[in-house]
Symmetry: C2
Subunit: 192 residues, 2 copies
């Protein structure tokens, strides 16, 4: 996706520890036109997969999920990871270790929003270690539903989430792959 | 907005303490077509206000903000209320009391995403006590920017958030107003 590549190379910032910041267009501040196009492109890649739900986890996956679900014509569901507001007591849950939080948390999806007839597309803003996605897979599995694939705008190839998921036989579609960070410069897999 | 009224009367659930649950189409599970139409309708109401940013707070305001911002052709920004992932240390912040959390939390917006030239539309999924919106107003004010208005799909008239904001001279647009809950039945201001 050329526009996303262009924005990463133009705007993304590299912080200490080779952390790539895309909060100026993808999370925190969102470019809704770019996000709509990301959703449409992910939907296009999975258009033959008979997706019935798009599932993500709050908060940064919600925008991707909404626009992907809109383009696919199915509902978006987001797993809750914070104890706020009303939470249905009847949930599927998974314990997830977060490297950014440096602790474990519980993600929850109300049982009523997943059932065994669902073919679920999992989305998020960035695929790195894949822990959040593995948590979503556990939840889909507990519901007896099927994971149809994983779609993300950005995959970090220097983390092993993508490899782990593909070795599990899961189709993973990333619109842009960051190969590595070298001296503060972001290198994409197929450049621009 | 007739479709939203219809969905509330058809699908919303009333729980103990007259809590109205709209998690089956507005938060947790999102109907993206309805959400797109909500965003387009809010954008239409503020189309002459020269909005430059749409601001909300994670998580349940994000979908409303994205679709409203898309229709207005401006960026969406969401205040962070959870300590996850990267947070810019250079932020505007506000302390907010949450009635649903029964505690206070800090919301933060990176300074780079608000400046004194901004005319900001504040959105959320539901306007009740208005505490989150008052926190966003404090943040906009700290940035020297201007609040152009508040837009929500659902306002609860039995809570005083809408009254407080209007008394402050702020334009508040709600697509549907819930007047009260009576014996487990949701009554809308102008019915259907």
């Amino acid at each position: 996706m050329e526009e996303l590549k262009r924005r990463i190379l133009k705007d993304a910032k590299v912080d200490e520890g080779d952390i790539i910041r895309v909060d100026m267009f993808l999370n925190h501040c969102i470019d809704p036109v770019l996000m709509r196009d990301i959703g449409a492109t992910l939907a296009q890649r999975f258009r033959t997969e008979r997706i019935t739900k798009v599932l993500t986890v709050e908060s940064s996956g919600i925008a991707v999920a909404c626009f992907t679900a809109l383009a696919l014509g199915v509902p978006a569901v987001y797993a809750k990871k914070f104890q706020t507001g009303y939470i249905d007591p009847d949930v599927y849950s998974a314990e997830v270790h977060s490297f950014s939080l440096e602790k474990a948390y519980t993600m929850r999806v109300a049982r009523r929003y997943l059932d065994r007839d669902d073919r679920v597309l999992l989305v998020d803003d960035i695929l790195a270690s894949g822990q959040a996605t593995l948590g979503l897979i556990e939840i889909v599995s507990k519901a007896g539903a099927e994971v149809a694939g994983v779609g993300v705008p950005i995959e970090k190839a220097m983390k092993d989430g993508g490899h782990v998921l593909r070795r599990m036989g899961i189709r993973v579609e990333s619109l842009v792959t960051v190969e590595r960070v070298e001296n503060g410069t972001i290198l994409l897999t197929d450049g621009l």
